[in-house]
C-alpha cells in the first residue's frame, strides 16, 4: 500500500502560478494559502509513478445528478 506522503513542490512555484492566474496581490502574498497549497500538491507529486501502477483516470462523471 502507498503510505503517508511527503513531497517537493515549491512556494515560489505556487506563488508564480497564482500570479499567472491573476489572483489579487493580497492572495498571492498570503503565505498560509501558498504554504497549504504547496503541502497539498507536493505530497501528491511525491507518489512514484510505479506506485500508481496502471491506475487509470477513473470515470469522473458518476451518475449522481439524475
Amino acid at each position: 500500500m502507498i503510505g503517508p506522503l511527503d513531497g517537493d513542490a515549491t512556494t515560489e512555484g505556487v506563488r508564480w502560478y497564482a500570479q499567472l492566474l491573476g489572483l489579487p496581490q493580497n492572495d498571492v502574498d498570503d503565505a498560509a494559502l501558498i504554504a497549504e497549497t504547496v503541502a497539498l500538491t507536493s505530497s501528491l507529486a511525491a507518489v512514484a509513478e510505479r506506485d500508481l501502477g496502471d491506475a487509470p483516470l477513473p470515470l469522473l462523471f458518476v451518475p449522481t445528478r439524475l
Binding site: 497539498l40 500538491t41 491506475a55 469522473l60 458518476v62 451518475p63 449522481t64 445528478r65
Partner: protein, 456 residues
C-alpha cells in the same frame, strides 16, 4: 400540545399516524412547539417553513387511507439542509453570497422524493458555508445539544442538532468528506452516507460533483434506513438471505492517535459485534493519503463552481472558505488528474484490504466534540487543525463510494457522545445498515438523549 410526541422515533410516530391515533397536524404542532422553545438555544434552522408545513399537514389529512398507507413517511416532519432546494423557500447554502439557487423555485430530487413519500418538510437547517469550511459569522453558530459550549462539527450542523434535540424525526444532509458522519457522531445520532450515486444530487448546491453524497440522519438505524429508502426510490434491493453479513473487519491499528475514550468505545463495540459476527482485523489504506486526495479533488471542483461568485463577491465569503476555494484555483490539472488516479489506487487497495469481510468498522472521529471556537485540538502528543482531526477516518469512503454510517457507541468521560463508523461495499448499503441495526439492538447508546434545554 403534547411535546413528548416530538421525542419519539420516526418508526413509533409513523405507526401512530398510520393507525390514526394522531394526525399529521398534531405531530407537526408538537415539533413546531418544541422547536420554538429549544431552537433559540441551538440555532439549528435557517428557516422554519411553518405556513407551508401546516398547509401540507392539512392536505395529507384529506388523503384517503389507501394513499397514506403507500407513503412510508406519511405525516412525518423532516428537516432539510439548506443546500438542498425546496420550492417556495430560499436556499442559502449557509452563505450571504447571492446564489441562483436562492431564487430557484424547483424542488431538488430528494425534496420530490420526500414529498412523494408523504413527509412534511418543516424547516431548512444551518450548515457550514457552502458545506466547505465554517459557519459564516453572520449566520451564527449551531450549538451541540449535549453541551452548548461544544461544536456540532459540520457541515450538516443544524441537521444533527435538530435530530439530537428531537426537533423533527430525521433530516437530510450532504457528505463530501464526512459532513454527515462526523456531526452525527458528535451529537449522538445515526448519520448515513449512502453509496455514491444512490441518492441523486439534482438541486443540491455542489461542493464537489464527483464526491457529493446526499443522505439521512435520524435517531435510530431503522429510521435512517426508512428515510434512505424513501429518497432513493427504485434502488431498494430485494432481501437476500445469502447476502446477510457474517464477517466484520475492524480497523483499529493501535498507532493512530485516538482519544482514549474513543479507543475504549470502539474496542467495546467490537466485543459486542463479536457476539454476532466473526470479527477480524483489517489494515485499511492510508487515511492521510485519502484526506490529501479528497482535499485536492474537492478544492479543485469547488473552486470551479465558485469561480465567478468568488470574483464578484469574495468579501462575502467566510475567510476560511474563501481560502479553501482559492487553494482550489491553485491546483493544476496535472495534480487533479494525479489525485483522481490515486483515488483509483485507494479503491483497489480498499477492496483488497476488505477481502473476505462484509463490512468494516472503525472510529468516525478520533475525538469527541471539541469546544466551540477551538481551531486546533490535541490528541495525545499531537496538536493539529480541528477540522483535519475530525475528518481523519471519513474521506476514504467518500473517495471510494462505499456506504458508511455513524452509529452512537458510547460517551466520553464528560458525557459527550461517540460514534463508530460501519462501511460496506458500494451497493451494500443494506449490509452496513444490517450490521449497524444489529449492533444498536445490543447496546443502550441510541436511547440516550441530550439534557433537556429549559427556557431559563
Amino acid at each position: 400540545v403534547n411535546e413528548s410526541l416530538a421525542r419519539g422515533t420516526l418508526a413509533e410516530t409513523s405507526a401512530l399516524l398510520q393507525r390514526g391515533a394522531v394526525s399529521p397536524s398534531e405531530v407537526l404542532d408538537s415539533v413546531l412547539e418544541r422547536a420554538d422553545r429549544v431552537n433559540p438555544h441551538l440555532n439549528a434552522f435557517v428557516t422554519v417553513l411553518e405556513p407551508q408545513a401546516r398547509r401540507r399537514a392539512r392536505e395529507l389529512e384529506r388523503q384517503p387511507r389507501e394513499i397514506r398507507e403507500r407513503q412510508p413517511l406519511w405525516g412525518v416532519p423532516i428537516s432539510v439542509k439548506d443546500n438542498i432546494a425546496v420550492a417556495g423557500a430560499p436556499t442559502t447554502a449557509g452563505s450571504s453570497v447571492p446564489l441562483e439557487y436562492a431564487r430557484d423555485s424547483a424542488d431538488a430530487a430528494t425534496t420530490e422524493s420526500l414529498l412523494a413519500a408523504g413527509a412534511i418538510i418543516f424547516a431548512k437547517n444551518r450548515l457550514y458555508e457552502f458545506a466547505f469550511g465554517n459557519q459564516h459569522r453572520t449566520h451564527g453558530t449551531t450549538k451541540n445539544p449535549w453541551r452548548l459550549d461544544r461544536t456540532t462539527a459540520g457541515s450538516s450542523s443544524g441537521s444533527v442538532a435538530a435530530v439530537a434535540a428531537s426537533l423533527g424525526f430525521g433530516s437530510i444532509g450532504t457528505d463530501t468528506g464526512g459532513s454527515i458522519r462526523v456531526p452525527a457522531a458528535m451529537c449522538g445520532v445515526v448519520g448515513l452516507k449512502p453509496t455514491l450515486g444512490r441518492v441523486p444530487t439534482r438541486g443540491v448546491v455542489p461542493v464537489s460533483w464527483s464526491l457529493d453524497h446526499v443522505g439521512p440522519m435520524a435517531r435510530t438505524v431503522a429510521d435512517a434506513a426508512a428515510i434512505l429508502r424513501a429518497i432513493s426510490p427504485g434502488t431498494e434491493p430485494a432481501a437476500d438471505p445469502e447476502h446477510s453479513p457474517r464477517r466484520v473487519g475492524v480497523a483499529l491499528d493501535g498507532e493512530t492517535p485516538l482519544d482514549p475514550a474513543v479507543r475504549d468505545a470502539v474496542r467495546e463495540a467490537c466485543a459486542v459485534l463479536s457476539q454476532m459476527y466473526d470479527v477480524v482485523e483489517v489494515d485499511l489504506p492510508s487515511s492521510q493519503l485519502a484526506r490529501t486526495v479528497l482535499w485536492t479533488i474537492a478544492s479543485a471542483e469547488a473552486s470551479d463552481f465558485h469561480r465567478h461568485l468568488l470574483a464578484r463577491h469574495g468579501d462575502l465569503y467566510d475567510p476560511l472558505v474563501r481560502r479553501r476555494l482559492l487553494r482550489g484555483r491553485l491546483i493544476s490539472a496535472a495534480d487533479y488528474v494525479r489525485a483522481q488516479r490515486l483515488r483509483a489506487v485507494l479503491t483497489t487497495e480498499l477492496d483488497s484490504a476488505a477481502e473476505g469481510v462484509d463490512a468494516v468498522v472503525l472510529p468516525v472521529s478520533p475525538i469527541p466534540a471539541y469546544s466551540l471556537g477551538d481551531r486546533r485540538v490535541q490528541i495525545g502528543s499531537i496538536v493539529e487543525d480541528a477540522s483535519d482531526a475530525v475528518t481523519r477516518f471519513t474521506p476514504l469512503f467518500s473517495l471510494t463510494g462505499w456506504p458508511a454510517l455513524s452509529v452512537p457507541c458510547g460517551q466520553s468521560r464528560d458525557g459527550l457522545p461517540l460514534g463508530i463508523q460501519i462501511a460496506a461495499r458500494p451497493g451494500d448499503d443494506e449490509v452496513a445498515l444490517a450490521v449497524a441495526h444489529a449492533y444498536e439492538q445490543m447496546t443502550p447508546w441510541h436511547l440516550l438523549r441530550p439534557p433537556e434545554i429549559t427556557s431559563s
